[in-house]
C-alpha cells in the first residue's frame, strides 16, 4: 500500500514536470504565432490606409523632371528615400537610384509625408528627354504601395 502511494506521488511529480515543460514550449510557439499575426494585421492595415497620388509631373529642363507626390491616405508615410523610382519612355522604364550624385538619380524634399502633404521629387537624367515622347514615372514605397504618372515632354 505504501509503495503504491510513493509510486503514485512520483508519477504525479513527473507528470506535472513534463506537462510544465511541454506547456512552456507550446506557449513559446503560440506567443510567436500571436506576435506574427498581430504584426501582419498592423502592416496590412497600414498598407490599406496608405494612398499616394502623383498630382503633376513635368520637365523643367531637358534633363530634369519634377514630380509632385501627395499623400491622400490616412497614415503618414515614412522613409520615402527608401522607395524605388522607375522612370523612362513607356515600355522601357529603368530604376533610378536615390541621390547617388551621378545622373540618373532622384532626390525628394522630405523623408516623411503626412496625410494631405505634398513632396517634391526631382529626377536628374543622364541624357536629354525626347520632345515627342511620353514618359512614365512609377514610385513604389517601402511598404509596397505603387503609384504611376505619364506625361508628355514640354
Amino acid at each position: 500500500m505504501a509503495s503504491e502511494v510513493v509510486s503514485e506521488a512520483i508519477m504525479l511529480i513527473v507528470s506535472i514536470t513534463l506537462i510544465g515543460v511541454l506547456a512552456g514550449v507550446v506557449f513559446s510557439v503560440v506567443s510567436s504565432i500571436s506576435t506574427s499575426m498581430a504584426s501582419y494585421a498592423t502592416l496590412q492595415s497600414q498598407k490599406l490606409l496608405t494612398d499616394l497620388q502623383i498630382d503633376y509631373a513635368t520637365n523643367i529642363s531637358p534633363t530634369t523632371v519634377v514630380v509632385y507626390l501627395q499623400n491622400i491616405g490616412e497614415v503618414t508615410v515614412f522613409n520615402l528615400q527608401n522607395s524605388v523610382l522607375y522612370f523612362g519612355p513607356q515600355g522601357n522604364m529603368q530604376q533610378i537610384g536615390y541621390n547617388t550624385g551621378t545622373p540618373p538619380y532622384w532626390t525628394i524634399s522630405t523623408n516623411v509625408l503626412n496625410p494631405g502633404s505634398v513632396a517634391k521629387i526631382t529626377i536628374y537624367l543622364s541624357s536629354p528627354l525626347t520632345s515627342t515622347q511620353y514618359y512614365t514615372i512609377e514610385f513604389v514605397t517601402s511598404n509596397g504601395y505603387s503609384v504611376s504618372y505619364t506625361f508628355g515632354v514640354s
Binding site: 498592423t42 498630382d55 491622400i72 490616412e74
Partner: protein, 162 residues
C-alpha cells in the same frame, strides 16, 4: 485511473484551452484591426469617387491669380490645408522669360508661394475662388498650367496662356 493521470489530463486540457483562447483572442484582434482599416479605406474611396472639381475661370491681376473652381461632386470641400496647388508658368524676371514650377501652400493671408480663399466651405454645385500669389508677374502671352488637387485626391488641371 490514478490520481496522477487525472491531474495530468486536467492540466493538459486547461493548458490547451488557455492556448486556444490566446490564439483566438489574437486572431479576433487582428481581424478587428483589418476590418477597421477596410472601413476607412472604403469611406476614402467613396469620397474620391464622389469628388469632382472643375476650373471654371482664371483671371490674372498683377501677381495674383484668381482661380474659380466649381464643385461638381457630392462631397463638400473644406480641408484646404490638405489641397495641393501647383503652378507652372514663365515668370518675367528682368524682362527674361523664366520657367517656374512650384507648389503653393494654403494660408489665411496671401504672400508669395501661398494661396488663400474667402470660402470656408465649397458645397456641391457651388463655386469658390482661390487666390494664388505668384512670386513674379508672368511673362506676357506665355503658356501656363495650374493644378488643383483636393484632399480626397481628384484634381483639376488648367492649361492656357497668361
Amino acid at each position: 485511473m490514478g490520481v496522477s493521470q487525472v491531474v495530468a489530463y486536467a492540466l493538459i486540457i486547461f493548458i490547451s484551452i488557455s492556448l486556444g483562447l490566446i490564439i483566438l483572442g489574437t486572431y479576433i484582434r487582428s481581424q478587428q484591426i483589418l476590418t477597421y482599416a477596410y472601413e476607412i479605406k472604403q469611406v476614402n474611396q467613396l469620397n474620391q469617387l464622389d469628388t469632382r472639381i472643375f476650373i471654371k475661370n482664371i483671371y490674372l491681376s498683377a501677381n495674383l491669380l484668381y482661380v474659380t473652381i466649381t464643385n461638381n461632386g457630392t462631397t463638400s470641400l473644406y480641408e484646404f490645408n490638405n489641397f495641393a496647388v501647383i503652378v507652372k508658368y514663365y515668370a518675367n524676371i528682368s524682362n527674361i522669360s523664366t520657367l517656374i514650377v512650384s507648389q503653393y501652400n494654403y494660408s489665411k493671408t496671401i504672400g508669395p508661394y501661398k494661396w488663400t480663399t474667402s470660402s470656408i466651405i465649397i458645397n456641391p454645385s457651388s463655386s469658390g475662388v482661390l487666390v494664388i500669389e505668384l512670386p513674379y508677374k508672368p511673362y506676357p502671352n506665355t503658356q501656363a498650367t495650374v493644378v488643383i488637387a483636393t484632399n480626397y485626391g481628384p484634381e483639376a488641371i488648367w492649361r492656357g496662356v497668361l
